[in-house]
């Protein structure tokens, strides 16, 4: 399974549901999608529950999006991390930097 991207547009929030594998091949598509949804006054959320594989390329994408969204005044956070994604974030220390929305029902 490669990458799936589904975008749900709410009034004040874009929610991007990612699934499959995020690596150096699929990462640029994720980055392009997220960057295009950064808008002042809107919130950008990324759902990671269906992500089966992610490596440091994915962290690189989130670092870039985090910086761009901060500059644009568009809150950015992730939700529903799979256990693998959480492990990657914790090992690298990225867990301390990224905004995580918890207790969110799908």
């Amino acid at each position: 399974m490669e990458l799936t991207i589904q975008t749900i547009n709410h009034e004040t929030e874009h929610c991007v549901v990612l699934g499959g594998e995020i690596d150096a091949y699929t990462g640029p598509k994720v980055k392009e999608t997220l960057m295009s949804l950064i808008e002042p006054g809107m919130t950008l959320a990324v759902d990671l529950e269906a992500v089966e594989y992610m490596d440091s390329t994915g962290i690189g994408v989130f670092v870039a999006v985090m910086k761009a969204s901060k500059k644009a005044g568009c809150p950015f956070y992730v939700q529903n991390m799979s256990s693998r994604v959480e492990r990657l974030f914790r090992i690298t220390g990225f867990y301390e930097f990224i905004a995580i929305r918890k207790g969110e029902d799908k």
Partner: protein, 164 residues
Amino acid sequence: MDPNNPSADVIQLTLPNRVEYLGVARLLVSGVANRMGFSYEDIEDIKLAVGEACTNAVEHAYEQEDGTNSLHLECRVYEDRLVIEVADQGKGFSVESAKKQATPLYSGIDQEDLVEGGLGLYLIHALMDEVVFHTDAGVSVSMTKYLRRDGVAGDDRTISKNQI
């Protein structure tokens, strides 16, 4: 132990040194690790380490503006461990950038100082039991993961029974 021990089963894969084949490299190692009886978590860790090593090799090939090299993957299956070697034919990935990449960890820094990339080598070291870089005849990396037997030593019989 001698890494060239003839008792090891050897599985080799040569693939184009391009990002679209990274998933194929991961599939190979997860298949081999699964057959050996590694736990789900260990298999995912091995996949991630190999994914990082292959990404490093592929990106270096791009830096050299020479995407024609091939990426070589070798799995050596021992009774108690899996050794995976990743090498790209030709120039190899630079040891200098490898050294740099082994250092930065996302801790004790400001959010503004986060960089995109530079975690690959750190992750390989964190996820695998032994990591060795070879610089003769290009650059390659050997990564070893030991089979954990629930902390009980000498229950080899259980393992072989499971494999039947």
